[in-house]
């Protein structure tokens, strides 16, 4: 009997970019009166805030002679090209050519539909050119406008050797939280429905597990870390987090989002607001949030290291303790086909809860052995 060797099917990343809302960054960074250039969606965009206070996004390359508008200047509501000073409005129309008697009637460039939500700027990408459908939007953070949360702490990192599907895969990847992020998941569940994808995660830490304390398996409530994370479309993950340290629970909202640059590179952005801790001033609250984000950022760098060195794989070989990778990718596929070609399988509700019993048992023993080895060698 021959034992067949499993072959990796690497496939090819899609040429097109996902349909959906993509966060480009914070309003406070992009709305400083200067034009900002952002490489995204296989081209370059220019973002600026006009005198009217609105953030506007256009293709950065001027339709006149190809100048880069993001190297130009803001003039009133418009952006002026550095090459010949053609003035473009946020609606994509050329408003003025200072040295010409009139503007050519076809002087129109691509204007991107924008959305500002809780201090973040989004653009709508659709290869078919349709506006965002009713109900496909970015949710507000309850209490953000009332000052219950700290201001954003925010960072970004360029991932220049992978398609963004790699970060989407993390949604169902229970075991990587132990091996890459020093977590110990005790509860793990995914739900896909329509354009949203959710992960429920609860767990403890390596340090606590190493002490040999009994761990509640399969419980969402009462764990040191609880996370309720939802992708609203293909690129914007809202993660409600509760981290408990003894009697103190820190509540935060972590955003992990990206925009594609090419089919093999993307910008990974991550930011956080933290529910202000009572009895602490704003500066202390901001410092805690900044520290938490820095730790999360280190975690992402560990992901990036894996992505840089791994191969693309279309046919992952799974065990029962792995999450529903194939169903996740079936869900994700809906953003890469025309709306008319979305099949029921891509958007029908699917729920998957992992049995973490064996994993938690093994990981805790491993951590306790490491701890014992450390104690005996010192």
């Amino acid at each position: 009997m021959s034992e067949a060797v499993r072959t990796i099917e690497a496939g090819r990343p899609p040429e097109r970019f996902a349909r959906g809302w993509h966060c480009l960054g914070l309003v406070r960074a992009l709305g400083d009166g200067q034009p900002h250039g952002i490489e995204a969606f296989g081209t370059k965009l220019v973002v600026w805030q006009g005198a009217d206070g609105e953030l506007k996004v256009l293709d950065a390359y001027c339709r006149h002679m190809g100048g880069d508008l993001s190297q130009g200047t803001v003039q009133g509501d418009n952006v002026a090209c550095p090459f010949h000073s053609w003035r473009w409005g946020g609606d994509g129309k050329c408003q003025q050519i200072p040295y010409a008697r009139r503007v050519p009637p076809r002087a129109r460039t691509r204007a991107w539909t924008t959305l500002v939500r809780d201090g973040q700027l989004f653009v709508w990408n659709d290869p078919e050119g349709n506006p965002p459908p009713e109900g496909v939007t970015i949710p507000e953070i309850p209490g953000y406008a009332d000052g219950e949360w700290t201001d954003w702490v925010w960072d970004q990192t360029l991932v220049d050797s992978s398609h963004c599907r790699e970060i989407i895969d993390n949604m169902v990847d229970m075991a990587h939280f132990y091996y890459i992020h020093k977590g110990l998941p005790t509860y793990f569940k995914n739900v896909f429905e329509g354009h949203v994808c959710t992960q429920y995660y609860a767990g403890t830490t390596h340090e606590i597990a190493a002490t040999g304390l009994p761990i509640d398996i399969g419980q969402y409530e009462g764990q040191q870390t609880k996370s309720d994370a939802t992708y609203w479309g293909p690129s914007y993950l809202v993660d409600k987090l509760w981290n408990s340290y003894g009697d103190l629970t820190i509540e935060s909202v972590l955003i992990t989002c990206h925009y594609p640059i090419s089919s093999t590179s993307f910008m990974l952005l991550y930011g956080m607001v933290m529910k202000k801790l009572p009895g602490m001033d704003d500066a202390t609250n901001a410092m805690i949030a900044q520290k938490m984000l820095a730790m999360i950022g280190e975690g992402f760098l560990e992901d990036v290291k894996i992505w840089k060195n791994k191969t693309r794989i279309d046919n992952p070989l799974l065990c029962e303790e792995d999450g529903p990778v194939y169903q996740l990718r079936r869900w994700y596929e809906q953003f890469y086909v025309d709306v008319a070609d979305i099949t029921p399988e891509m958007s029908q509700r699917f729920e998957f809860e992992i049995d973490t019993t064996k994993a938690v048992d093994f990981w805790q023993k491993e951590l306790m052995e490491k701890e014992a080895a450390k104690a005996s060698s010192s």
Partner: protein, 67 residues
Amino acid sequence: MDPVQCSRCGTTVEVSKASAAQTSIQWYGDSSSCPLRADLSVGDTCPYLSDSIRDAVLEGRIEVPAT
């Protein structure tokens, strides 16, 4: 996967279990056939459906591999 009908609203889903603690649930059509769905957060399983799945396991209508 085996069909399970919710004892409360009558919606039929397909369920499989790889162990006592692992559950996969595939819905068909629009999940709004569940009257509770709109009030539950997206990640929550309807408690009545959970009960119906538990009953199906107890009655042997869903096979659960021994661990």
